[in-house]
């Protein structure tokens, strides 16, 4: 029983990181109606950027976000303008391929510069822990969770308290009407992609401290992130966050209760069951099925 509780706590803490990564992905979908299959690769890229700063300049990985998030934001804007914006016809299908190609390209470049050895970012807080009962929580999970809360909070503030945030939400809700009030939806899309990348960078740091990773780590990440955003309802930020927490808690509890081998499987089963009942996901708006 205690073990289940521990697993649940751990699930919430790691779920926070996935919530952050998934929020960027679902934001991109909401604004542009594209699935960014390259999101996992961008998380890994973010992890590598922090890894370099940590290894070569000895910068604390959390501090390095001051550099990596802006860099990734700019990169995101560039990627959007160069690769996503030109897609006109059939953008839903083509964007999957384009972002997949980007993922492969990033994987290749990372492999070229860093080889494909597994690396991990280390910091004093990745093994230091404090006790809760007879269970100990590592500081990195707490810090990571707090970081995710802070960034998610900032995103929500931006979305709900600033004019530009309003423009992003407006674009998500009704693209045509947004254009009507003079919102430059192309610009909004580019910025949204940038924000998605910045959150990927932040998620990448926590991922990089709590997991060993190599350039190929993105496949596993993206399959989870996609499951999370579909479960939450495509384009719903709230849904993505809640789904991430639910998924990771269920996964970790399954791991201790039944067996770790079935944990991932349960992850997908939950998705299938939810979709059977609610094809639009937990918080998705029902898309009109016909006409």
């Amino acid at each position: 029983m205690i073990l289940v509780l521990e697993a649940a706590v751990l699930g919430v803490l790691t779920g926070g990181v996935y919530a952050l990564m998934a929020s960027g992905l679902t934001l991109i979908f909401g604004v542009m109606r594209i699935i960014n299959v390259g999101h996992g690769a961008l998380v890994v890229l973010g992890a590598y950027l922090s890894f370099v700063l940590w290894r070569n300049l000895n910068i604390d990985p959390f501090v390095s976000l001051v550099v990596t998030m802006p860099v990734m934001f700019v990169l995101g804007v560039i990627l959007q303008v160069v690769f996503i914006r030109p897609l006109k016809a059939d953008r839903e299908a083509l964007s999957v391929l384009v972002t997949y190609a980007l993922a492969l390209g990033i994987e290749g470049l990372l492999g070229f510069f860093f080889t494909s050895n597994y690396v991990q970012i280390t910091a004093w807080y990745d093994t230091a822990s404090f006790p809760i009962g007879n269970f100990r929580i590592t500081y990195v999970y707490i810090y990571g969770f707090l970081l995710c809360l802070a960034i998610l909070g900032a995103i929500f503030l931006m979305l709900y308290r600033t004019t530009f945030g309003g423009a992003i939400r407006a674009t998500m809700l009704n693209r045509t009407a947004a254009q009507l009030v003079g919102i430059d939806v192309d610009r909004v899309s580019a910025v949204a992609f940038g924000i998605g990348m910045a959150t990927a960078a932040a998620g990448g740091v926590v991922f990089g401290i709590t997991n060993t990773f190599n350039p190929g780590s993105h496949y596993d990440l993206i399959s989870r992130l996609l499951t999370i955003i579909v479960l939450g309802g495509l384009g719903s930020l709230r849904g993505a966050i809640i789904a991430a927490l639910i998924m990771l808690v269920i996964e970790d509890i399954t791991a201790v209760l039944i067996s770790p081998v079935w944990a991932d499987f349960v992850f997908f089963v939950v998705l299938v069951v939810v979709l059977l009942v609610r094809p639009q996901g937990l918080f998705g708006l029902r898309v009109r099925e016909r006409l």
Binding site: T163, R169, I183
Partner: protein
Amino acid sequence: MAALLELEGLVAGYGGGDILLGIDLTVEEGSLTCIVGPNGAGKSTLLRVVSGLLKPTRGSVRFRRESIAALSPRAILNRGIVQVPQERSLFPTMTVWENVRLGAYTVRDRGLVERRLAAVGETFPIVKERRNELAASLSGGQQKIVEFARALMLDPTLLILDEPSMGLDPKTRTTVFNTIRSMNDAGHTLLLVEQNARSGLGIATHGVVMESGRVRLQGPGPEVLSNPEIGRLYLGAA
């Protein structure tokens, strides 16, 4: 009164045939011009041309003497021609206040935005009263009025309303048309496209009846409405 918008010999259509077959029309500054006509008469096509979404095949579109036929929708918006579309265009899960504020999205001057917000709040009490409610929770007529308020945030030179009465019950319709009227009284130039001829022409300073891509009747609103010809235009020649 000076001519604000002038259409001359306008011919336009999609792909195959032309829908507009030579339109001559002038919208005077300060007027409330109302275009009515049966569906398929070409009213929506006309609006698409004015807002820059459709390029005319022939003829000219001038706004304050400048030809705007070749301009992009954004450029036309920047010149002060703002449109409230036929379908609901509020952002449903944003508050009324957020919706209205977004109307001035392109305005950089914060003070100006605040002043306009205040003014719009005065003109449309509902915007203030229900400022923190989600747009989706408003009734159809209330949503229409919020859309007007949002459009006014840009202080448009010409405000185009596309079928504002669509889907509204008679009582709400009256409120909406009263609001339109008062906007005109407050000095806004309005171009109204309406299916409901009686409501539209009833308040219009200038009425226009279109049919099959042509202007069939025009004159002061109430006069056009009382023209016996209008029934025939709607229900077809005997």
